[in-house]
Amino acid sequence: MHDPAALDGLLARVALRDRAAFRQLYDACAPQLLGVALRLLRRRDLAEDVLQDAFASVWQRAAGYRADAGTPMAWLTALVRNRALDLLRAERVRAAESLDPADAERRADERPDPLGLLEQAADALHLRRCIDDIEGPQRQCLALAYYHGLSHSELAAHLGSPVGSVKAWLRRGVERLRRCLEHLE
């Protein structure tokens, strides 16, 4: 679906200010990227703002994309995730300070368990056995951090554990994940 060579070609044409290529790139990647932003932000209006912001930036900065700097989808995913994470942190500060009941409602998390996504990713990458070997709390921390964007303190509150334990789980989990993913290189 996201053929790196085809996306590379589209990005090269976008750098030359080819509007049709820009639209094709958007049609090919925007749904996946909106899914990523929506999973982190939970609010469609914010997720669509992030997507819009990221693509406006792609039009301006496509010339700065280098094929040797990773696949186009990795570049685009990072662009969207970084914006979403910044907004998520800012929104959480705002919501935590807000007395608006709508904000409290938004804080109730009804998204499916992110562990399921990590397992799906592991299956897709043929790394299921390696990732299943990561201890439960470490795996849960990784999934909640990556798919839901939870910070250390939010992870601690969510799991009912001290921040110190969460940091240790994450550190060990990242190390284990790194070893699993090294098999992909």
Binding site: R23, R39, W59, Q60, R81, L177
Partner: protein
């Protein structure tokens, strides 16, 4: 610990860079640490390499997230912010749009240059010193209204800019004027002030800088030395060689 420190300092340690890159991509770094790591990536190639590796891992993990179709408002917003949508006065359907959009902008620019020469030629110069401008750019706002006029003589390095409506400059930002060449990234021409008439000193003659430039654009930036436009253009328009 000091004895074991890497010769290139703390950030010369590949393991530390790898851990930081992983935490950055996973999103577990705090806001300040994120900014610090971004600066590190810009200044150190090993940090950029570590980040690239983890961004690829991250994209592999993100690929299983179910896609969600964006509403049509998202693309319209992108068109508005990048200046890709046709101006209001040039809305034509179908395949005619790109050609007619260009023609409308060009005619508007040339028309202004012919009908309002006083917008282009400085009224402060003595008549014998006044030569027609060679490069003229007419920038319009998001609604297609003329907003700024830039002009320069072919062998001159001064770019005269007239604001036809005030710049709605956000606090602590500057308005940067960019040249948009046909097949290269935009480059900076200078910073616009709030004054209705102003003169920018370019780094070379307009013939050297603008001969391959199709369009000019203005974006709001946090600092005057922005390397490229960081967001959409607030004003944009064709740049043409007239004489």
């Amino acid at each position: 610990m000091n004895g074991a420190e890497h010769p290139a300092g703390r950030y010369g340690n590949p393991e530390l860079l790898d851990r930081l890159a992983a935490a950055y991509v996973l999103g577990t770094l705090g806001r300040l640490s994120r900014r610090r790591f971004e600066r590190l990536v810009r200044s150190r190639e090993p940090a950029a390499r570590a980040l690239k590796k983890w961004e690829s891992h991250g994209a592999a993990l993100a690929a299983v997230v179910p896609p969600v179709q964006p509403s049509s408002a998202v693309w319209r917003g992108i068109e508005r912010r990048t200046g890709l949508g046709a101006p209001a006065s040039c809305r034509w359907a179908g395949w005619l749009r790109p050609a007619l959009g260009f023609a409308c902008g060009l005619l508007l620019t040339v028309g202004v240059a012919r009908l309002q020469p006083d917008w282009i030629v400085s009224a402060n110069l003595p008549p014998q010193a006044v030569l027609p401008a060679s490069y003229v750019g007419l920038l319009t706002d998001a609604d297609g209204r003329p907003a700024a006029l830039a002009s320069s003589r072919r062998r001159g390095a001064d770019l005269s800019v007239k604001l036809l409506q005030p710049l709605a400059l956000p606090a602590s930002q500057v308005a940067v004027l960019w040249a948009l060449p046909k097949d290269r990234a935009p480059f900076r021409l200078g910073v616009l002030q709030a004054a209705p008439k102003q003169m920018l000193k370019m780094s070379d003659t307009s013939e050297a800088l603008l001969s391959e430039v199709d369009e000019l654009g203005v974006s709001f930036e946090p600092s005057a030395d922005a390397a490229g436009p960081s967001d959409g253009f607030v004003l944009r328009g064709h740049c043409v060689k007239l004489w």
